[in-house]
Symmetry: C2
């Protein structure tokens, strides 16, 4: 499964998109930009009607970072799911995050796509174990979770639920690498996969710091952006400690500063998102942003993200 | 205290550096690059002898990101602490992280610097409350904690231990802003201040993920670098959730997805850095880096950091 025409000859097989909301749109733009023939389905006719234009806009954003689009990429929309995924070797499922919705959609994809097709789910909430419940060939249905927006953030978290998922994992790994993505492997199904577990841990302490009055929402955000965030865009947490301990690396760090790290862990908070806390967070956020509206702030974040990705190209 | 010749006329008063190890060196380079007359003291004669050359090397790194150095900046070294800080309006203390060492050094600085001088400590471990114990005028001695390396990372965490510290906080805030730094305010003394509390929370879950076998050291680091790390260099955790919930912003996020966030919090781990865990982390790290030595890896991180800071200039 690690050798497939899809990897080297993008137009050879269609790639399926099921669910064309924001996440499905990002995936579609990425696949088309990389030269794939995308067959997209969404149950909502209006979503399908607007998709082509929205994809073109997103492709412009990709081109600003990754360069011109490959030849041959194009989008075809299908109101019928079975027709959309027919003959597809890979299908990306982006249905709403409810298992009673996702499960029948996954079953229908599996029935209509190519017999050995791999189905990647964009699910944030569910593990491959949960997705596989009641499916005929669960080992073809894996987690392939992007970090929003999928067309601009390289991370894709890929995971199955046991050894028999290995061919599908290997296929998806190669496929996403061929798209210039950065796949990581969820080896054991876990709530929140990897990146959202780490984000949740950071956010919990951020909420604790604000609710205890140690710092404001604005200063917590500024501390991350101008401090650890800058470093985490250059190297992960383990590498940063490896490089922070002189010649001895991570081993020396853990031996000398492990106890200080554990003391910090013991002092971390476990806040609740109760009404008083939510009110405090929202009121401080409103103070921070003043008159700036969400479109402005989103645009600013997108420009900074594009600038960073461009700056890092060729420096990995 | 928010109006002082030091802010607009860098050469007007000397700035003191006490302790010229790696952190003191970074501060010295930053102050000299911004046109200050720096009076540096270190008890080790060899450190002082090598300081001028090391500072010039660090200034080259600053210039690559922030442009050419200001006129008038220069370094003078003193083997005697009292002579170094005499007449200084601001002194940055970078003594070893042990209170029995720091306390007498801070007392000596306070006695010899200008009568209204502000003394900022680079301390990672101690709060302003602890630094002030037994000092004659504790309200002049504040935390001014950089994120390593101080000459390249803009964050400076500033904190006192009560209302009477306000003039010193305001002074330091203005001073670090005049240096192009990004000060944040630690409003209540807390172990690890702000950024290291957040880093510890992330690292705890990173260790948990590896020790449970959910993902490898390499994939945890790659997940951060290619996912959340990229985003945190563009916007802080609160802003990211504010922008991730459509028009309703953070309030909508907390109302709709707060319960999912709390469920993730409940699932986070509380690992120990015991021998088996340390061994696992170090062995996976060694597998990750292969033949690359620390100098290579450090150089790579520094190049990526410089590229990002350059890319973000003017995009904040």
């Amino acid at each position: 499964m690690t050798d497939h025409p899809l990897f080297d000859t993008p137009g050879a097989h269609p790639v399926g998109i099921v669910g064309a909301g924001l996440i499905g749109l990002g995936w579609t733009a990425l696949f088309v930009h990389r030269g794939h023939r995308v067959h997209a389905h969404d149950p909502d006719p209006d979503t399908l009607t607007g998709l082509q234009d929205a994809v073109e806009t997103a492709i412009v954003e990709i081109e600003a970072v990754d360069g011109p689009r490959s030849a041959g990429g194009r989008l075809e929309c299908f109101s019928n799911l079975a027709e959309a995924v027919k003959g597809c070797a890979y299908v990306q499922e982006n249905a709403p995050e409810r298992l009673p919705i996702k499960s029948p959609v996954l079953a229908e994809i599996a029935e209509s796509a190519a017999p050995d097709a791999v189905i990647g789910s964009s699910t944030t909430s569910f593990t491959a174990l949960e997705l596989g419940e009641g499916q005929v060939k669960p080992e073809r249905i894996i987690v392939a979770h992007p970090f929003n927006p999928p067309h601009l953030i390289p991370l894709v978290e890929i995971g199955g639920a046991g050894d028999d998922y290995e061919p599908a994992i290997a296929f998806a790994w190669r496929f996403f690498q061929s798209l210039g993505r950065e796949p990581v492997h969820i080896r054991i199904p876990a709530r929140g996969h990897i990146a959202n577990r780490l984000s949740a841990a950071l956010f919990r302490e951020a909420v604790h710091i604000v609710s205890e009055g140690i710092a404001s929402v604005e200063d917590v955000d500024r501390a991350i952006v101008h401090g650890p965030g800058l470093r985490w865009a250059t190297a992960g947490p383990f590498m940063n400690y490896h490089l922070g301990a002189g010649r001895g690396g991570l081993a020396a760090y853990l031996d000398h500063l492990g106890p200080a790290q554990e003391a910090r862990w013991a002092d971390l908070g476990a806040p609740k998102l109760d009404d008083a806390t939510k009110k405090l967070l929202v009121s401080e956020m409103n103070e921070t942003i003043g008159d700036a509206d969400i479109t402005q702030l989103s645009g600013q974040r997108a420009r900074r993200l594009a600038a960073i990705r461009l700056a890092l190209a060729g420096k990995s």
